[in-house]
Symmetry: C3
């Protein structure tokens, strides 16, 4: 799958937060995709129309930016372009929660990627959240079915174990490393990696493959770097190196088909 | 002290400049705090209220951002949350100087962290400033008393020797390395490190401890990295590693109690 | 030439995109210049007036930012300060193309630095563009004369071979490494490096020297780092290390004087 991404070099349009723009762009270049950041209302429709995927990330949202996201999202919908929503910090303020819900109301999202706290808040399921990277130790597997039922959008809930769900399947992936929690934007970059894979194939397996690829890159980076500065650099290097064969061999993925009413 | 920060993992709310957001967030994760960046007027009150500390940094200020800073600052004041103001580039333009003074007028700031040129400009003391990281070779010790008298806010004036002052004490810290001047946002990150420490204990000694901790991390980073690219990464790694014991052992701190009128 | 930059430490005012601000600032500190980022309409005139060079980069443009660029540009023109325009992604949306052309209409630009696709789009020459870093394999040498004739602004068209042109000369430089295309903002940083050199001497040779210096730094970085994470760091380290003697020895520059009508 990563080989197809590298071959296609999908153009991934981001309307994203100011903290992670540089790291996200470098991550996508490293793995072989082509990032573009553009958030002016005057140009997002045009950019989203030519892009192969769109990422909406509300980490440093403003009212104006939300408008731009909705314009871009509608354009992507018209073009059949997959959209990943990263609801950074939803639950921390009501502005974030309301903005993310408004996007979901007005735009057809192909995948939400967030941590357990963010997804729970978005779905209105009560949980404690600390900051934008909080909610550790939550059972993402149990949460996924409940949140999917409410939101009815394919989900990637990432944490110690990552859980992906749509209306057919539930998948868990247990690659990755705790060092990821020490690098800002590691979740945001994952959202963009998923978008790069969805640009090539719009399936839950494609997203799961992206999550596994990213987790394996993190595992290898940890072998090279034991502290967060070096780890951040090693992660970029590994995104450049991990192959499709590596993913096939090292992904720890388990699938579960969902029968009618199974996740209800 | 750093151990208490690592235990508490304070949530540090930033309204800060676009140049340093990523580096600041990574620095705080590395040392063990939890950064959050949020600047929309619609959410800063809520975010500042739940945070354990607030950093206001005017490095890429706009009129709208200053409004958000004042809203957040007032919320932090109501919640008793410590605020660090970083007056980046004050003196370089009148908009910066006026904006920083307006914040001081409307918000109760617990500490100003700046270089000698910035603090002097803020206090209206005449000095030459070059860019945002200028004013080397200035006697921060002499400046501190004069500026404190005018501003009446605890100060951390950083440079070759760092000087901290409040109404009780003056402290100098002589850790650190000149390589810090080669990394953008190294001063901004220090402001955030101070905020992380003030979130645990609101004393001048706590701030001094933050400055010493940061300087020791820089010294160790220089042992590993002789050029600015590698140094930046090594600094993050050292913020992750330097212990409370290291600080006690290696901090070069001298204190001076201030008698009545002593700094007048 | 780089020694003169290091001696003068020119203050380079940027109104630039949010993706590359940090990397650009670190790159300039590494080589010995003094970056400042400021984009508020209230202060750009003052900042551009004291700066030694101005960089206008439209990578994450907004309507408000374009206003600020024009205010700053006019101030720089009045002060005789050289301006480098980086037309990031021109051609990708009509807003970018129109904004860049509006800047050219209202401000006297000393150099445009872009890739072949961007420069061609700006000049209205038909080419295919992919993303903001696209248009590989284009003959920049052939493009340069045609684009210069239309735009009548000195150009640096960068790619596998870099081409610089003004009304007297055309120069090609063939230093650099393909790894640069794997790091976001490597072109943007080059624009700022050129601005730093023009701050010292406003000639085409000065800009060519900047391009050679940067390419040599990239070549050396590739010797140390074979993947994009490490390369990014090694590039900063090399910008700190490459000397004027290194440039003289390793620059692969060829010049061609332009006779009357020669580039028509």
């Amino acid at each position: 799958m990563i080989e197809s991404v590298r071959k296609k070099q999908p153009l991934v349009h981001h309307i994203t937060n100011q903290v992670v723009m540089n790291f996200t762009a470098n991550g996508l270049y490293a793995l072989g995709a082509a990032p573009v950041m553009a958030h002016a209302k005057e140009e997002v429709e045009e950019m989203a129309t030519v892009a192969n995927a769109l990422v909406l990330n509300i980490g440093t949202l403003t009212a104006e930016q939300i408008e731009a996201m909705i314009i871009a999202g509608k354009a992507a919908n018209r073009a059949g372009t997959p959209i990943v929503l990263d609801p950074v910090g939803v639950g921390a303020t009501s502005f974030r929660t309301e903005s993310a819900r408004r996007i979901l109301d007005e735009v057809d999202i192909q995948m939400i990627r967030g941590n357990a706290g963010e997804v729970a808040s978005l779905a209105g399921i009560t949980m404690d959240v600390k900051g934008v990277d909080g909610a550790e130790g939550v059972d993402g597997v149990a949460l996924a079915s409940k949140a999917y039922e409410i939101l009815n959008v394919p989900l990637a809930i990432t944490g110690e174990t990552d859980v992906l769900i749509d209306d057919h399947e539930k998948m868990t992936i247990s690659n990755g490393d705790a060092m990821l929690t020490k690098v800002t934007g590691s979740g945001c970059l994952l959202s963009s990696v998923i978008a790069s894979f969805l640009a090539v194939e719009q399936t839950l397996f494609s997203a799961a493959n992206a999550v596994g690829f990213y987790g394996i890159a993190a595992e290898r980076a940890t072998e090279q770097a034991r502290h967060p500065g070096q780890f951040q650099i090693a992660l970029l290097d590994q995104l450049h190196q991990v192959s499709g064969q590596d993913v096939e061999k090292h992904i720890r993925l388990s699938k579960q088909f969902i029968g009618q009413g199974d996740h209800v």
